[in-house]
Symmetry: C2
């Protein structure tokens, strides 16, 4: 029987995630597995909490990586913070906003949405007008909308949500590790992220953080969290305190990977990492424009780590991506939803965000045009 | 800044899981990360499905590893199969039966339980009497109760559940890969397992399988599954069919580990692997009894991979386990619930289940008595 893993070669992952994993993180993934209650593992957990607090700019004690991918973080935030009948507002300008709406609706919330054109940001003035009319329990928005490459103005929205009195929930899956995320300063009450974007880990964990106000909501729930696996009131007892209470067996080796990823970001310097993403984003855009390609998103709203570029007339989306994958070992992403077949999504995330990778990609695209 | 991963040494993990990871699986974990829609990754997914069907002895098409640990598999089975108000019976003889009861109750089911003494098996005659009195939508039981080391008689219970007309849900987290699991022959409709027990992978994935009858219940639900992340009707579209629909980004490298674990089991021969667990279980019990120790569970009901042994009078549980961990690099488990401080739980799972490991453990215990 042949082993399918034997012939895998290293790819240049420049799509919407996963991103290229760095050698230090591959190394971490296969360090010896410890028991989930081993004191040396507890020390690693404690350090991961501090590392996450550093990168998220928060003092929140309830800051933990959930044992699932980014979408599990989304589920975690909603299922812990929402009770049936709560009023929720979701600000939508892409696929991941729609997903939030779906998750909240399934949990029995009364969900309103405020929609903005895909490829453009959420407009705070529109949010302000809407919030003046109704009090919400929770307002949710995506920071870096991976489906379009748009950055939403979280700080401005945060001020408005605070006035309304609602909890403020932010999807930071794609932004964390690639651009500033100021959880406390921006008034974010609950945030989830992922490991396979700018942290350059393989997918499998979702860092989540709750503010004291969010913890208060969790503590005062009328009903138990209708999801045992993601119940943060139980998980918190495994991730803090002097006696660790077993909840579920943590994904040990994935947590090694996350530890190493955060270690690397902090060692390079969080601001340096953000600058690097910005610098190579500009380098990429410049190169794409020199090839005659046009960006989807207007300049002030572009994400550094996810670049949506319009596919020129007469070019076959699938053919180009297949050629990049098979002949050049480069993966880029196709469009989602209304942009399927119309844009490519080029990721510059973590270990992928270097000049040599961009040069390789631009050369490959040039040959296809 | 010192790196906590640098000084980790290989441990002999002989507790209730995680078990010692084999070198082949460590190797698999750090193979190059592919995109989650890369055709070569899809081929690995397809193979994992077939490998799981082989080891579970099932033809079920809906056989997939969920992106979370074993407890996520438990949550998956209940949240997909239960609707509010459904009648559920949980057969309980340990911690993991109680957990099932908690999960089902949180989801709004009417949950009855039938309890048996911890350390003894579920008694089919009692189940038969109970099922004669009431029709259930679902009956749930743990195959290998990790908290006590007891094997429950799944085939006999399966026949009774079939007569009742209920769906039959089985927790096979600890049994899969260490003893026969005959999903189709035993009339199991839904099953979940884990990777960190007899498959010797690090924790992080939970194989789940649904029978056609379970799929029918899922398809005919009145309400959407109140958990987007674990909704099998969506996940099935990523794991099968000619066009794979993105749901969440799969934990690529963990799936490499699972692929390799199943590859290794199938290469050794599924029956040979089971025989090895049984043989070394007997070898361990013999050695423990020669040291004057007494097993918790009566012989006919003992699990091969989880051995609960009574802590002799005058011996301090915590001291012995700390000495094993720190001086011998061996982890064994303490008791849970009513057995806390009263038993040790010695795992013989997957790559841990070899003579040299048992000899090392027995020698270390001998020095502590």
């Amino acid at each position: 029987m042949s082993n399918l893993l034997e012939n895998l070669n290293e790819m240049l992952l420049m799509g919407p995630g996963p991103s290229t994993v760095s050698p230090t993180i591959y190394e971490a993934l296969h360090r010896p597995t410890l028991g989930h209650l081993d004191p040396r593992f507890i020390e690693i957990m404690d350090t991961i909490k501090i590392q996450l607090q550093t990168i998220l700019n928060t003092k929140n004690d309830l800051t933990v990586p959930m044992s699932g991918t980014g979408s599990a973080g989304m589920e975690t935030c909603f299922v812990n913070l929402i009770e049936s009948g709560d009023n929720v507002l979701v600000l939508i300008n892409g696929v991941f906003g729609i997903r939030m709406q779906d998750v909240a609706t399934r949990l029995g919330a009364n969900v309103d949405s405020l929609e903005f054109d895909w490829g453009t940001p959420v407009i705070p003035e529109a949010v302000k007008l809407h919030l003046a009319k109704k009090k919400y329990d929770l307002v949710a928005v995506v920071h870096a909308e991976t489906s379009t490459g748009v950055a939403n103005p979280i700080a401005s929205i945060g001020e408005l949500v605070k006035e309304n009195g609602a909890l403020f929930l932010v999807d930071a899956v794609t932004s964390v590790g690639g651009m500033p995320v100021e959880m406390d300063n921006w008034g974010i009450d609950a945030l989830y992220s992922g490991t396979q974007k700018c942290l350059s880990c393989p997918p499998g964990l979702s860092p989540v953080s709750f503010s004291p106000k969010a913890v208060e909501k969790l503590t005062n729930r009328k009903s138990k969290v209708p999801n045992w696996y993601l119940d943060l009131s139980l998980i918190a007892n495994y991730w803090s305190g002097s006696t660790r209470v077993y909840h579920h067996t943590a994904p040990i080796n994935m947590l090694y990977g996350l530890y190493q990823a955060l270690f690397d970001v902090i060692e390079e310097g969080v601001e340096n990492v953000h600058s690097r993403h910005k610098k190579y984003h500009e380098y990429l855009v410049d190169g794409l424009e020199k090839l005659g390609l046009e960006m989807l998103v207007n300049k002030p709203y572009r994400l550094p780590m996810l670049n949506a570029v319009k596919i020129p007339e007469g070019i076959n989306d699938g053919d180009v991506r297949a050629t990049l994958l098979n002949d050049y070992n480069i993966e880029i992403g196709g469009g989602l939803g209304v942009f399927a077949g119309k844009v490519w999504r080029i990721g510059l995330m973590g270990h992928s965000a270097y000049e040599k990778n961009i040069d390789k990609l631009l050369g490959a695209i040039k040959n296809q045009l």
